[in-house]
Symmetry: C2
Subunit: 345 residues, 2 copies
Amino acid sequence: MNRVSQYRVVFYGLGEIGIRALRLAIGCEGISVVGAVDTDEEKIGQDLGTLAGLEQRTGIAVSANAEGVLSASGPDVVIHTTNSLIEEITPQIQGIVSAGVNCVSSAEELFHPRPDTHQQFEAIHEKAVRHGVSVLGTGVNPGYVMDGLPLFLTKTCEAVRSVKVERVVDAATRRMPLQRKVGMGLDPDEFIKLVKEHKMGHRGLLESMYSLAAGLGWDLEKVEEKVEPVVAKKRVRTEFFTVEAGQTMGMKHRGYGYRGGERVIILDLRMFVGPRQPLDRITIDGVPPIVVTVKGGIPGDDATASILIHSVPSVVDGKPGLMNLQRMPFIHTMFSQIPERSRVE
Amino acid sequence: MNRVSQYRVVFYGLGEIGIRALRLAIGCEGISVVGAVDTDEEKIGQDLGTLAGLEQRTGIAVSANAEGVLSASGPDVVIHTTNSLIEEITPQIQGIVSAGVNCVSSAEELFHPRPDTHQQFEAIHEKAVRHGVSVLGTGVNPGYVMDGLPLFLTKTCEAVRSVKVERVVDAATRRMPLQRKVGMGLDPDEFIKLVKEHKMGHRGLLESMYSLAAGLGWDLEKVEEKVEPVVAKKRVRTEFFTVEAGQTMGMKHRGYGYRGGERVIILDLRMFVGPRQPLDRITIDGVPPIVVTVKGGIPGDDATASILIHSVPSVVDGKPGLMNLQRMPFIHTMFSQIPERSRVE
């Protein structure tokens, strides 16, 4: 390993994902956990070992005072897992950046700018550049299955016409908050109403869409997003919910990106109880065509925690600013247009 | 696209792979082809458009004088595709580096150091650093299917016990030199003799092995390599060969890497006529386990040409020195050891 030494890490947010990443970090010889921030009254003052469910204590207690923790512990990087929405996390991220600390965040909206979040990205980017630190939004989805992995696969293609990503998840195997987010047990009309209020559904589909398009050098002329309930035909039970026939037992969340009047990006996320075949499948209509299947699909929360930890070196050593797949050097698509000769093949 | 402008590229070596990459480069708006080098008497003086099989001429003629071409054309990068062996290419690479030009090469032995090529790597690395340029050995195999892609997939794992990569190729679909390299039409004893003399078989399996191990932070205590002929049971025909029953119609080339007495890396390359199911399959025994299948397998030569071209920006903008997957920032494995608690899961 090319390790400089140990990375000093502060955890900011100790919900499900934060705790999973914390457990990995405590077991990782390349990381020294030096502080933790959370505003939950039940967690403040608790030892990280206890929160992580370990027998040993770490000697590090949770504090609600982010500024104090950052200045006292002198971390290289913060692992930030408080919230999905850029509006809500911006003050937190700016506080981290102002303290001169790099940041890896699981916030879905921090993964890639949408047209309506572009300004907030620019503001964070400029501040990060000014303070000489890097910020990365990442995770399994967005951040890997529907964007990073397909882009990595296009590295073998000389031309790409369209990209389709399907992710089929058995929602019954997932944690409670996720089951709630896919509408488990709701009346379908109620689900549709909550979707319209942006209170339901997967966060990050459009972020994946714009990241893919940017990686492929494509300007999308139109983007569509559709969320539908999957309705139970008979009673089904999960660990956390009992869903009666006629109620919502999950959702289909699809995104379409258009170019030249054609659908060139299709993102198809299905999360419900008992799908026949959970999987991730990436279909690249290109030269050559590529079809890749991940058996069972990449497990969501575990993979996000791993990706957060694995991202530490690239963020600490990265160029100052707000990173994304395009600003990170592992994707390089030289061909923004399909050459004419390929169209006729 | 984040393009600075056009990359000025010289082609060094205009065999099968070089010509494929050249065709892509001519069609790529981000690249300007500014020169070409080959020692083949038949190619010297010819226009690149003619060699690439295009109707238009490019005004650039092939020259045998590498030094002259490099100093006259002022390229950003050379795409080098002359030979597999580090001994043979070292003078060429050093010439390119001494001219202050970056280099992307398809030479299999330049992909990753083996214990017996380590010194040559260090010499090239030091020279490249001194001249402020980057050198990268890459391609589909080694460079992608058996190393880069599996490492990219481990980014979702918190621990990895073993990695197995299978690549099954229908040799009948491949170009003539490759069919010859897998022993097509030879007497099996002759094939085995030529394998012992290193005149037969796939180049780069050990490079993939050491790259994978380095990416995972593993020191291998032992490495084994086995090459066997696949013998035809009845007469088979390809575009280039007729193979009688009892003759070689391809090969199995396997590599095993050991750690703690266990096989932790298995590379299994099968190239012969008419396999039941051509594919690439990556099986990661880890937390979580990951099984990924590429239907039909990634097409070899086309993918190598694409990867060479896609690598141009990262090499031109890269840190000076000899790059490899570990020196490139897209792979970061923080966990070199399987945590104890994962072993019992």
